[in-house]
Amino acid sequence: MTSRRHFLKGCLAGGAAAASVALIPETAEARDTLQRPPEALGLLYDATLCVGCQACVAACKQANENPAEFTAVDKLWDTPLDTSGHTFNLIKMYRHGTMETKDAEQNGFAFMKTSCMHCADPSCVSACPVSAMTKDPVTGVVGYDADACIGCRYCVAACPFGIPKYQYDSPTGKIGKCELCRHRHQDGHYSACAEVCPTGATLFGRTEDLLAEAKRRLALKPGEWTSIPRGRLEKPGENVDEAARWKAPLNQHYEAQVGNYLQHVYGETEYGGTQVLKLSAVNFQKAGQPDLPPKSSAATSETIQHTLYGGLIMPLAVLAGLTWVAKRNVVPEDQEKKGDQS
């Protein structure tokens, strides 16, 4: 009889515990998708301006002191086929049919830059258990600290763009990814890929300004001539001090024809928005960019995590319940009498 009553009490406590530990309503500590910081830095990649020269790939290797990767038989040139722990930036190619026309989906070809998107709400930062992946509160650059990293590769698994990569070829392998050349910012250098881009296909600047520039281009008529900035895009009304922070000279503009753009700035809203933005004439998915919802997965994951464990309130409440029940049910051996329990 007492056993049955205990059992029911146990059911109640245990059931409540299981339910409260595991229920996931997006209520309490719901965490919204994070926004880009106001001074966020980024890149604008315009596939219609890209000529596929790979100068940015070489410059990136140099700036990050990465070794060449050989995939061809002769091993003469750096020929990575994808980004890797030793290649943080790559221009990939879309090919179709006869490949006659640039920026055409049918019988055409197009280029696409592959490198870190510097998400407003990065999955890698949320996933990293040891804060080796961090997002700079001012510039928004997603940086990596090898000295903190445990090499669990959760960031590799978490990123939908497939960006953080691990160096499997080394017993002390690190994660490799674009950090927007943040180590060169102090010397006035900005992202090496944008510094060397001869056509302005990769442009460095504040994401806010880059987004405005992207929208300006989308509003123009294809084939029309327009002024295209190269290197770094200045902030509107930028003063001398602000300009002096960066080394490269301004006025690198040139006249170019407007591309036949899709009316979509990739990265404006994807996964909560990214600081690297892309323009293309060829469907983004066909060019290798994933189709992503406007909500970041980091927000969903952290909402679940903090609903269950915020302030440790729920675990402690459940522990109290379980302790109360267990205290009644655990009988030390020496106090146990025969027939005490069923």
């Binding site: 146990g10 406590a13 530990v21 258990p129 978490a158 990569k165 997965s297 302790t323 205290k327």
Partner: protein, 386 residues
């Protein structure tokens, strides 16, 4: 730890075919690990940037720790739901859990690319409470300590530490409560690990309810493992099967399993994801395989008569274990597609060397179980019980 039927060492020889095979597998594992630590992960594994987590994470840790839920499931039954008569099952189940978890904890180190930094995960300043993996790491580490405390009366009995044992038993209830809470937390979080991967995980396994699914499946898996272990132990040591305990426990297992399946399908229907189960894809095939394994126990041990048949109980245990394996394998590997299938062409199947390490880890567990049950009072004393 109170014992209604006093536990006793099984005794017998420690060198036999089973232990020697285990030793050989362990030696192979050590050889592979030697190469891994000298030359890096790429030298022995087929891991790549499309599949950064292979069997060392998914099987050794995620599945390995779920297999180790016997201790948690049975302890919950005995101490929280006050079903004292299941007591003889506690020690053997706890022993298997102890090794399962301890090895999962050690196994993580083999997979960590920068393992010498492993302590950062628990160190303030490095630790990131937003990370699901942080939660998993904290709870698993704490649980390993709690389980050694829960199990320590066994060693104290053997070593004649009466006073210490009495002192410990006065506060044991707290560790038992903690030992019930911690697995609930990390077994659910092992599922939550998938959430941040977002749409890279097939909608059949990517859901905000994944923590509840992993928790419920871990509890049933715990009972499934106990069925399996009890049958194997009985046959290997030529002991009587504890049918009077396994039979009602199998019924409880079916109850939890029914709840699991209700949540599983309810979630798929509400999210409108069930359509993916009817796509002509590998993922859909493995989904039905998983569901098949989870429903099989109802067919095998659904009736009271069937539950009196040890062979059927064993089969039901195996089916549940396979279901639990598939749920995890499907979410982390088969239903995972990095970069959402866009032109990456990544593939993964574990290398022989990788599988040798996984086998070696299970061999350590089996070997330790044999040595401890033969030399320490874990299994109920045969003669005393009947």
């Amino acid at each position: 730890m109170s014992a209604h039927h006093p536990a006793a060492p099984v005794g017998g020889k420690l060198f036999n075919t089973a232990t020697l095979v285990c030793a050989a597998l362990i030696a192979a594992m050590i050889a592979v690990l030697f190469v891994r630590f000298i030359f890096g992960l790429g030298a022995v594994t087929n891991l790549n940037d499309g599949y950064p987590w292979g069997v060392w994470v998914v099987v050794d840790v995620v599945i390995g720790s779920a297999f180790a839920c016997g201790g948690f499931s049975v302890a919950m039954l005995v101490y929280i739901f006050n079903r004292g008569h299941y007591h003889p099952l506690v020690r053997p189940a706890l022993l298997a859990s102890l090794f399962g978890y301890t090895l999962a904890g050690v196994g993580v180190l083999f997979d960590l690319g920068r393992w010498w930094n492993f302590w950062h995960i628990l160190w303030p300043g490095y630790a990131n409470p937003n990370s699901v993996m942080f939660e998993v790491a904290v709870c698993i580490s704490a649980y390993i300590v709690v389980m050694w405390i829960e199990f320590s009366p066994v060693f104290m009995e053997k070593l004649g530490m009466k006073v210490q044992k009495q002192k410990l038993e006065k506060v044991l209830f707290f560790f038992i409560a903690l030992g019930t809470l911690l697995p609930m937390m990390h077994q659910s979080s092992l599922g939550t690990l998938l959430v941040v991967m977002g749409p890279q995980v097939n909608p059949l396994w990517q859901t905000p309810f994944v923590p509840l699914l992993y928790l419920l499946s871990a509890i049933t898996l715990g009972y499934g493992i106990v069925l399996f272990e009890s049958c194997v132990t009985a046959s290997a040591y030529r002991r009587e099967i504890e049918l009077h305990l396994l039979q009602p426990m199998a019924r409880i297992m079916l109850g939890v399993l029914a709840v699991f399946l209700a949540v599983r399908f309810g979630d798929l229907i509400v999210r409108g994801a069930l359509g993916h189960a009817f796509a002509p894809s590998l993922e859909a095939f493995f989904f039905w395989l998983e569901i098949g394994c989870f429903t099989a126990p109802f067919l095998v041990v659904g009736s009271a008569a069937a539950r009196r048949n040890p062979a059927r109980l064993f089969l039901a245990g195996v089916a549940i274990m396979l279901g639990g394996v598939l749920l995890r394998l499907n979410g982390f590997l088969i239903g995972y597609d990095t970069g959402l299938g866009v032109d990456h062409g990544w593939n993964y199947f574990p290398s022989i060397a990788e599988m040798l390490v996984t086998l070696g880890m299970f061999a350590v567990e089996v070997l330790a179980y044999i040595i401890i049950t033969r030399r320490f009072p874990v299994l109920p004393r045969e003669a005393a019980a009947h």
